[in-house]
Structures are given as structure tokens and as C-alpha cells.
Amino acid sequence: MSNVTIKTAEFGSEPEAQLARSEERYRGLLEAAPDAMVVVDAAGEIVLLNVQAEKQFGYSRDELIGHKVTDIIPTGFAERLIADGSRTSAEALAQQIGTGIELTGRRDDGSEFPIEIMLSPLDSADGMLVTAAIRDISIRKAAEEELARTERRYRGLLEAAPDAMIVVNELGEIVLLNVQAEKQLGYTRDELIGQPVTNIIPEGFAERLIADGLRSAEEALAQQIGTGIELVALRKDGGEFPIEIMLSPLDSPEGILVTAAIRDISTRKADEELMKRAEQRYRGLLEAAPDPMVVVNPSGEIVLLNVQAEKRFGYTRDELTGQPVTNIIPIGFAERLIADGLRTDEEALAQQIGTGIELVALRKDGGEFPIEIMLSPLDSADGILVTAAIRDITARKAAEADLINKIAELNRSNDELSQFAYIASHDLQEPLRMVSSYTQLLAKRYVGQLDSDADEFIGFAVDGAARMQQLILDLLVFSRVGTNKIDLARISSQNALDCALVNLGGALEDSGAVVTSDHLPVVRADQMQLVQLFQNLVGNAIKYHKDGVPRVHISASRNEQKKWDFSVKDNGLGIEPEYFEHIFGMFQRLHTREQFSGTGIGLAICKKIVDRHGGSISVQSTPGEGSTFAFSLGEHSQERTHHDD
């Protein structure tokens, strides 16, 4: 094949020369183009090409001129130029004009490479020619391929993610999503791709991606990267559920995309809500408590407290929350929560539950006050917490101290009184013994030697001294009964009665009384005092007698509480009911000295003895018929056996 003649010979030399010039110009343009260019005729044969085309395809110009273009672009080029039934070649070509068409080029050595061609028509003498600008797009294609692979990989990651994920472009449209997103939102992929993300996250997502005057889209996004954002998602069925989304940017050929990982936090939210309600309820209880309360975690830090605690300790809530409990209870609180080798935290705590522990609390101003704390465990998400109810026991402590002082004072004054009674009666005896002895001596030596007045005076003096002596002796007994330590032992009450009768000796004989008794039991009592008791009661029974033989009977019987009730019954004068209580008082007498001598202390001694045994004494009587004194010896006096000496 010869050189292409674009112009046919029939146009003559002048036009021929013109043509040659224009062809020359065209060829110059062709060579100047940066891309490979070929000009193809309607038959699909190459009629012209530039040096870039030679280089790219590896042919020399001569090897291509006149050859089929399919040699270098096997498919897709020629076809585009061929008319079919519905269009002409020109029409077919027109459709391709100006659009880049991606095809494959083939070099002389047979290797292929991706090309993009741009077609443009060229009218010539030989008919319609087509100029094709051929661009080697190997590099771009490789880049595209790489991107596609990345995208595929990315999609794989997307699908592998446990959370629902969507990728949104700058317009807020969904460009990618995974199967979890489909499931959670109830849409199919196709229903979401290309749709605004507001369809599924109505508020808060798109806004975050939008630039305002102060920041770019990248900046807007950057502010959201990596932070969990709680929003509400909308399912296809209209249902809503709480989500947390995490955004991350994704550079892509289409601009910055945003990948959003969407997590359904319904369960967590529900848990949180439950926790919050429980906490609110608990806090409500805490605040309703009248005592200061603090809640302490296993590290000994205060996690919660009520307003009473704030007031009492002088701190604000913020000053205490998170602080060690030792700030307000320096000693003894934290220690109780600490496990040692032998026990766990729970055990350590359990040992303290429900028992009041007395400790010292420290106010912010440094003041201390005594407290009693009650601990109780509280299971929480953060482990076992300890709720401590703290009671200020300043007042109680003061009251206790006061009570102790008062008791000590009372004991002291009681002791002093007993001591006084003893010493007074004892020391009174000395001068009295002098008065008594010398009046007696006077009477003995001088009665009958002076006048009758003197005898009478001496008589009164002797009598007075004697009565005073008896009074002092009785007072001594009374004070001893009150002062001496009571010596409780199992003793025979029968034996005590027998001793009393021996002590009464002369009085008993003089009166001619008949004293009888039941079989009296063994009891728990102070021997000396029980003897004194019988002695006074039997003594009284004999003393206050009517004409005739005084009869006294002592008996014992068990009452409903299985205790022994004793009674001393006589046939004496009896007592008017109005005096039943009265007669057990100190110095209480029912008779004149002319009728009966006595100090009025005897029954007071009886009452004191019975009182000291924890028992009681009373009298029943019918005046003129006799009296019955009944006594019991209290809780400690009963014994199993019914046995006498």
C-alpha cells in the first residue's frame, strides 16, 4: 500500500495542491497531539496515524497504514462505525462522538492494554474518515481495579462486623450497608441504597455531617469521630429503638464517605433505666431516713450519701463523694470491711451486719462526736456496697454518763446513809450506856433513900434509857439488813424458824404461847435474815396477844409460780384493815407504850429482809380474831426439793 491520498486525482492540480496543503496541516496537528491518534476510513482501514500511535502499538507507520484497525483495537472500534438497519454510518458515529469509549488495544507483540478512545469525524475526499484519539488508561485502570478491590475488601469487613453498618456520602445518602443493617432496620439493601440516611436515623446523623459557617464538612465530621452518639433509629415498620453510632471517615473517589457503626442499645438502655430507677428509689429511701447514711464501695470510698449526712458532718455532697470513708469515720469502719487471710470481704461484712457498732465520727470542722453505725450490704453493678446508717449518740452517751454518775452518786449516798445509820446507832450506844448504867446504879443504890419524887424521876430516867437502847439496837439491825451483803444459799427454813424460837427464848416461855408449824421447805435465802424475819413475826404474834393462850402457826405452800408462800398466823388482837400497809413503815406503832413497848421498827425490818430477797410481805387480819402475815422470798428462793432440816 502506498501513502494515503486523501484527495482524489479528479479535482485537478490546483485543488490538489490545496488538498496537499490542508493534509499537511492536518498531519501536523496529528503529530502535535499528546495521545496516540489514528484516522480510519469507512472500511475500517487505517489511513493515517501519528508517531505516538506508532510507539504505543509498537508498529512502524508503514506496518499500519492500510491495515484494518481491528489489528490494534480488536473489538468495539469498528463496530461502532458500522451502520445497521436503523442508522447510517454517520448516525452511528454521531452517537459516539465526544464520549470516551473504553476498549482494549493490541500491540505488535500481541500484548493488550486498556485504552479510552475519543472519536471525531473528518470529512475527506475519500468519504467520511474517523479520527480516533487513543489514550492508554493502564494506570487509571489499575488504580480503579485497586479501588474496586479495596471496596470489596471493605464490604467484606462491613459484612463481618457484628453491628449494623451503613456508609453515607456527603449528601447524606446511604451508599453501602451490611446485612445486619438490613435485619435491624427491616429493609432490604435495595430499599436503602441511595436513600437519605434520615429515613432510618431521622435526627442527629445528617446534621452532624453538615458544615456550617465555622467549619468544613471534614471538621464537622472529625468532631464526631470515635465518640459514641446516642440516637434513635426508625425501622421500616415504624418502630423506634435506641442506638449508639460510631462514625469514621472513608476516603473514596466519590469524596469523603462516612461509615457509621450502629449498635442497638435497647437492652443496655433498659438496664440503665432499671438501674436508674432502682438508684432513684434507693436514693429516695436514703433521703427519707432520719439518720445520716453513707454508701461505701469495697475500696472504702463514699459513693452515695444523704442530706442528713451532709448536715451532720458539715460537708457538701461533692466534698464527700469519692472520698475515703475514713475522712468522716477515721477508725473502725473501713477495717471492718477488709478481708484478712481467714475471711472474705463478704464474710467480714456479714460479721458486722445488724450489730450496732460504736465509733467516733469526725466533722469537717474537726469536731468529733460519738456514733453508732449499722451496716447492711447492697448488691450493685460495682460489687457489694455497704450502706451505713449513722446515729449520733451524743445525747445517749451523755444520758448514759449522766445515769452512771447518778447511780454512783445514789450508791454513794446510800452507802453514806447506811454507814451513818450504823455509826450513829453504834456511837450513840456509848453515851447511852453511860446514862443507862449510872441511872441503874443510882436506882440500885439510892432508891428508897431519897424521897418518892426522886424515886419516880430515877424510874423515868431508867425507862427512857432502856427504850432508847432498844431503839438503837433495832436501828442497828435495820441498817445491817440494808447494808450487809445478802448471802443466798440453800437453807432449811425449818431450821431458821427453830433458831428464831431459841432466840425468842424467855419471851416465848413467859407468854406460854404454843407455836406450831408445817413441815417447812428448803429455800434459797440468807440464813441470818430469815431467822430475823421469823423472830420478828413470831415475836409480834406472841406480844400482841389477847387473854388466853397465844397460838401461832407457821405454814408454807407453793403458789402458781411454784414459789413458796409462808404465813405466820396468830390468834392475837388483829389489825384494822386501814393499817395493813401502814404497819410496815418505819417507826409505825399502833399501840401506846403503856399497852405495848416497842420501837416500830420490827416490821420495817421484816419488809426490808423480804425486799432484799426479791419477795413481798402483806398482812390479812380480822380485829379481835388474829392476823396472818404472809411473805414470799422472790424468784431465787424456790428449790426443787421439799425438805426440812
Binding site: 450506844q429 453511860m434 443507862s436 448504867s437 446504879l441 440500885k444 437502847q469
Partner: protein, 146 residues
């Protein structure tokens, strides 16, 4: 031979009553009186105004005395080789168990409490005289003294 009794007693009323009672019981008894423990020891040790005091055949000792009480006097007597054989009888108003126990611990020969009634007191003195000077045998150490 005269019988010498040392009465250690601070109460003049008791001294007189005891003198009266001894006079009635045994006129041969010489009753010497020391009004406190210090005087009693001076008498026994024949010191000062008591340089010529006889060795008593019996000591009647009250417990509660001024300056030096009866317990200390008793202790001194029992700690002294020449005095410890003298019968010493506690005669006091105290009925306290501790006093009784202490006295016997210090080797008192007996413990008597003063009766309240005159008759009883006279009877007691009478029986002291009968027991110690008519029935009991006493060590004959009178000659050993000047």
C-alpha cells in the same frame, strides 16, 4: 498478895463502872488505869510516872483508844518476851467480827463485849474475877520483877 489488874480504857464512866464492879466482886484487886495505848506501854515498861508500876496479873484492854489503839498495845505485849505471858482480855463495846478475829490473831486470851445493862456488866466482871483469879493458874513471874 495483892492482885494487880491494868485497865486500858479512855472513858472515865467505864473506868468508874469497872472499878465499882471489881470493888463489888473482889476488894483485893488493885485496878490500875491507863487512858490510852501510850500510857499502857509506859506502865508495862515502867517508864516515867509508872517507874514503880507493878507487873499486872491481868490486862483488860479496850480496842478503840486515843494515840495508840488496843491492837497495837496487844501486838507490843505479845512481841515482848517478859510481857507476853500476861493474860490480856479485850473488853470493848465493839461486836464487829473483824475486831474479834484480829484480836485472837494477835493472841488475845479472850474477847468480851461490854453488856449494855448494868446487871449484866456487874455479872461479867464477877465472872472475870472468878475465872482468872480463882480458877485459872497464872505464871508466877512477880518475883522476877523488882
Amino acid at each position: 498478895m495483892m492482885t494487880d489488874v491494868l485497865l486500858v480504857e479512855d472513858s472515865p464512866g467505864d473506868v468508874r463502872l469497872t472499878q465499882e464492879a471489881f470493888r463489888a466482886a473482889n476488894p483485893a484487886i488493885r485496878l490500875h488505869v491507863a487512858v490510852d495505848g501510850v500510857e499502857a506501854l509506859q506502865f508495862l515498861d515502867q517508864q516515867g510516872v509508872f517507874a514503880d508500876a507493878p507487873r499486872p496479873d491481868l490486862i483488860l484492854l479496850d480496842l478503840n483508844l486515843p494515840r495508840m489503839d488496843g491492837r497495837q498495845v496487844l501486838q507490843h505485849i505479845r512481841g515482848n518476851a517478859s510481857l507476853k505471858t500476861i493474860p490480856t482480855v479485850i473488853l470493848t463495846t465493839s461486836n464487829a467480827e473483824i475486831d474479834i478475829h484480829q484480836s485472837y490473831s494477835l493472841h488475845a486470851n479472850s474477847y468480851l463485849s461490854k453488856p449494855v445493862q448494868l446487871d449484866a456488866f456487874e455479872a461479867l466482871v464477877k465472872s472475870i474475877n472468878e475465872f482468872w483469879f480463882e480458877q485459872a493458874k497464872l505464871p508466877q513471874q512477880k518475883q522476877a520483877r523488882r
